[in-house]
């Protein structure tokens, strides 16, 4: 024992010291733990961005449904001056007030869509200001922004993704609006030139039948003329409410503000025309509140 005992004791003490240093180095290196935490956070952020990319197209779809429904119910207008019961006049004798559907759709769509993005965003996820384009011919809607969608944790990472969400969708409101324009032009040209109120009513019925045949399976067109407001049978003027209904299987899940509940329904485009020979008749109007999204 005398020979190697001191050496062994020395080695053991030295070994324990070295052991302590190794363990301290291995487990004391906080960068390993920090790295694991950062990796977890980065993975989480990447996954979150992937969730967003799957959720936004649905928000685009529902925003478009709601926009189309509200605008169609209000004759293509978001706000208007000449309307009755929130239904606008598209034609008042020779004056044409057909709305710019595309511009109005963009305005209302972006309001609703920004509500969705606000709802989805949180302390780490932020959305840019979006723009929208409609391709009526190809049936496409593209929601995009020049800025990125950002997920960030300032102390760890900043993750950016291009904000562009093109989608194929049937943009039925545009074709409804085109049918409405065509019908209004026909009414304006052919009904006003009739010799009497009764012949004007017959002309409207004929036009309605013609349009229903032409757009069979697509749209139903109903024109309901009201009483003659003109001076007499020959010097007539009357208001007609026109309702164009999408009769395809395209039912939209939307919120109906008048019923204050969600419904699953077809689009209906409503508008008035005031036509005839007695142009002294004024359109009956009432105020209409703007929908607050």
């Amino acid at each position: 024992m005398k020979g190697i005992a001191p050496l062994i004791i020395g080695i053991i003490i030295g070994g324990l010291a070295l052991y302590t240093i190794i363990l301290a180095v291995v487990f004391g290196r906080t960068e390993i733990n920090v790295r694991a935490l950062v990796e977890k956070e980065v993975l989480s952020a990447i996954n979150k961005m992937e969730f967003v990319k799957r959720e936004i197209p649905l928000a685009v779809r529902y925003s478009f449904y709601q926009t189309s429904y509200d605008l169609a119910n209000r004759g293509g207008y978001e706000t208007f001056e000449t309307s009755y019961n929130c239904v606008p006049y598209w034609q008042v004798f020779s004056q044409n007030n057909i709305p710019d559907i595309e511009t109005n759709l963009k305005n209302v769509f972006l309001k609703i869509f920004s509500k969705y993005t606000s709802d989805l965003s949180d302390s780490t996820l932020s959305f840019p200001k979006f723009q929208v384009n409609f391709d009526k011919v190809a049936g496409k809607i593209n929601v995009f922004s020049s800025d990125d969608i950002v997920i960030q944790n300032p102390s760890f990472y900043v993750l950016k993704e291009k904000a562009s969400f093109p989608q194929n969708m049937e943009l039925r409101i545009f074709s409804m609006s085109d049918v409405g324009k065509e019908f209004t032009e026909k009414l304006s040209q052919e009904v006003s030139s009739q010799s009497s109120y009764s012949s004007a009513l017959q002309k409207i019925a004929t036009l309605q039948d013609d349009f229903n045949t032409k757009y069979s399976g697509q749209f139903s067109i109903v024109a309901q003329p009201e009483n003659n407001l003109g001076k007499d049978e020959n010097n007539f003027a009357f208001r007609t409410v026109v309702v164009i209904t999408d009769i395809t299987d395209n039912k939209y899940p939307v919120f109906d503000f008048s019923q204050n509940k969600n419904v699953n329904t077809n689009l209906k485009l409503n508008f008035y025309v005031l036509i005839g020979k007695d142009t002294s008749v004024l359109p009956q109007t009432s105020t209409c509140e703007v929908i607050q999204y």
Binding site: I8, F27, E55, L58, D119
Partner: protein, 156 residues
């Protein structure tokens, strides 16, 4: 019978014991940190992997389609309709995605429009406590009071 062990023999035995201890100490110094490091790294990887599993399963689910309809829309329609349609295929899809004996997918909130609904569970074991879970929001048809529902996937 008596044994007599000389001093020299005792020194030799002591030296052998000391050498064995020395060998064990040196071995321990080399092996224990290596094992400890390995366990530590495995734990970290498992921690990250476990955390990621629910997210990846949810992403895989949301990427699926059924009869041309995307999964987020199927789930949104399901949670907002008054009479929910049959979406048992979601369970079948989840069973393919999640290699686990137990999971649950729920959605909804305290909002009366869409109370909490259990979409899928496998199998129905009440003591199936989740190891990992993830939540995400899915947009639902416009309603001034609610624009999204929370979807939660728990995996055991």
């Amino acid at each position: 019978m008596k044994f007599r062990i000389g001093k020299k023999a005792i020194v030799i035995v002591d030296d052998l014991i000391a050498l064995a201890i020395l060998g064990a100490v040196i071995g321990a110094i080399i092996i224990i940190p290596a094992i400890a490091l390995k366990i530590h790294i495995i734990n970290l990887i498992q921690f990250e992997n476990k955390y990621n599993t629910a997210d990846l399963a949810m992403l895989a689910l949301l990427s699926l389609k059924n009869e041309g309809k995307e999964m987020p829309q199927i789930l949104a329609d399901y949670v907002t309709s008054d009479i929910p349609s049959d979406i048992s295929f979601v369970s079948t899809d989840l069973e393919k995605i999640i290699p686990s004996k137990c999971f649950s997918l729920t959605t909804g909130s305290l909002n009366t429009r869409a109370p909490t609904r259990l979409i899928s569970i496998k199998p129905y074991i009440t003591d199936c406590s989740p190891d990992t879970s993830t939540k995400t929001k899915i947009p639902v048809p416009y309603n001034p009071e609610k624009l999204s529902e929370t979807l939660e996937l728990k995996i055991s």
